[in-house]
Subunit: 300 residues, 2 copies
Amino acid sequence: MALDTIETPFGRRDDAVGGAGTYAGLAASILAPVRLVGVVGDDFPRAAMDDLASRGVDLAGVETIPGGKSFRWGGVYRFDMNTRDTLFTELNVFADFNPQIPADWRETPFVFLANIQPQLQLSVLDQVAGALFVVADTMNFWIEGEREALDALLARIDLLVINDAELRQLSGEHNLALGARKVLAMGPRFLVVKKGEYGAALVWEGGHFTLPALPLPDVVDPTGAGDSFAGGLIGMLAWLDDTGEDALRAALAAGTATASLCVQDFGVEALKRLTTAEVCDRYEALRAMTLFPPCPLIES
Amino acid sequence: MALDTIETPFGRRDDAVGGAGTYAGLAASILAPVRLVGVVGDDFPRAAMDDLASRGVDLAGVETIPGGKSFRWGGVYRFDMNTRDTLFTELNVFADFNPQIPADWRETPFVFLANIQPQLQLSVLDQVAGALFVVADTMNFWIEGEREALDALLARIDLLVINDAELRQLSGEHNLALGARKVLAMGPRFLVVKKGEYGAALVWEGGHFTLPALPLPDVVDPTGAGDSFAGGLIGMLAWLDDTGEDALRAALAAGTATASLCVQDFGVEALKRLTTAEVCDRYEALRAMTLFPPCPLIES
């Protein structure tokens, strides 16, 4: 949970409410009851907590440090929106974060471990031993500097969500198909590879599924795209209460739909007013973009 | 029609039979009767002509220049197979090529104008006034140097096939969705954008369709991928005798399937033994990779 200062070609926001947990929690909340774990300072806006609570997000796992300052990040997106420069990162209360999961959350069935030190992700996992399906995110920083803990994590999760550059880094393979096989051999049963404007792919032992991104003429702020994608994905799995191949395909489409809505406004604005009807419309737009008839030559 | 000297990390071929017409003609020949227009010297192997004829390709439009040398191209593919260096280009008999279409080919319904000077593509179009659907390819060289003729061509064709870099160059837009709209405004009713390992997209006024590439662990020689794609595409349109949206979606899948088979052997080797069953298998593999259930939230 963070306060972000964001500048894009379309405007600027100072100390906007953000953070992976906030984005993913809001995104998932329209599909399933959400339990949020995080840490904030007492500068974190009360209104933002109320927004989360009003979406049914249980905040019993959010620790508020009296006198502490919330994590802050500042960045600028260039004109093509594909690259961003980080201007500052202040860990603040995040520096000493040691996630404590409420005892009665131990059996939480669907768990999303947002991007954080893999040691902390492992600590959370220890505290939700009753989880049925665990999705984890990570980043280049941990792939490079915390490989041992990350390897321990990969052996214990069901699905890893990373982008194509991270996949190349983690696997040491340029070819994404070969790299994906290597990552599956590290532990997770499923891998989701995010490819930016080219969409996302789901890979598992027996095959794979690819999904394009929705072409959006009006991307305003890409912040939170990956976390709202993960939130929509795990939200759909929880909604379906199913982790079979078809459920995962639907979950990837729900995540893509959710992320496409998120980036059309600043920060969490679009997610605060998100509806299942909106997600469903985008989901069906994806189907219309990808459907084609069975091979006409089968009968010939 | 050309003789190609190709070097890839997997081997080398000298004076291998190739050229856009040969690749596209062989690819389409399993789906529809093909009429081929081109020029060769008398060094072009008789066996290659026989291979084409045995696939039902009508060679009445192929001119053989006595004492002439066929067009020759030589190139090296680097290890990642995505970039190639041209070592030499000898136009030879191609330098004075002036396509003459047999008079009784005037009503040919489906026409593919492979990449060549747009003036010559226009001349071919004048000679097939009865065409129902015209597909054209082009390249960066003509976009830069022959814009006037290319614009005249774009106003007269139904579908343009280009890659993403060419789309950016032709439209002056970095964003592919915006660029595609601009190109449609130049004339063609449909645009196919080839995005290499990321697949291809079909764009028209009312919407668009995207298709991933098949992940191939064993790409041996990418030469002819674009032309076998175009051949499979127009072959499917002719087979269906339909140019509606669904037919075009099927055609894009057939083109992708055909190209994936082409690149798994050197030159035209895979295309010489191509079957509809092989194309259909790959086509269905693409469907399995892209299908996902209707939005589960519709009922909620």
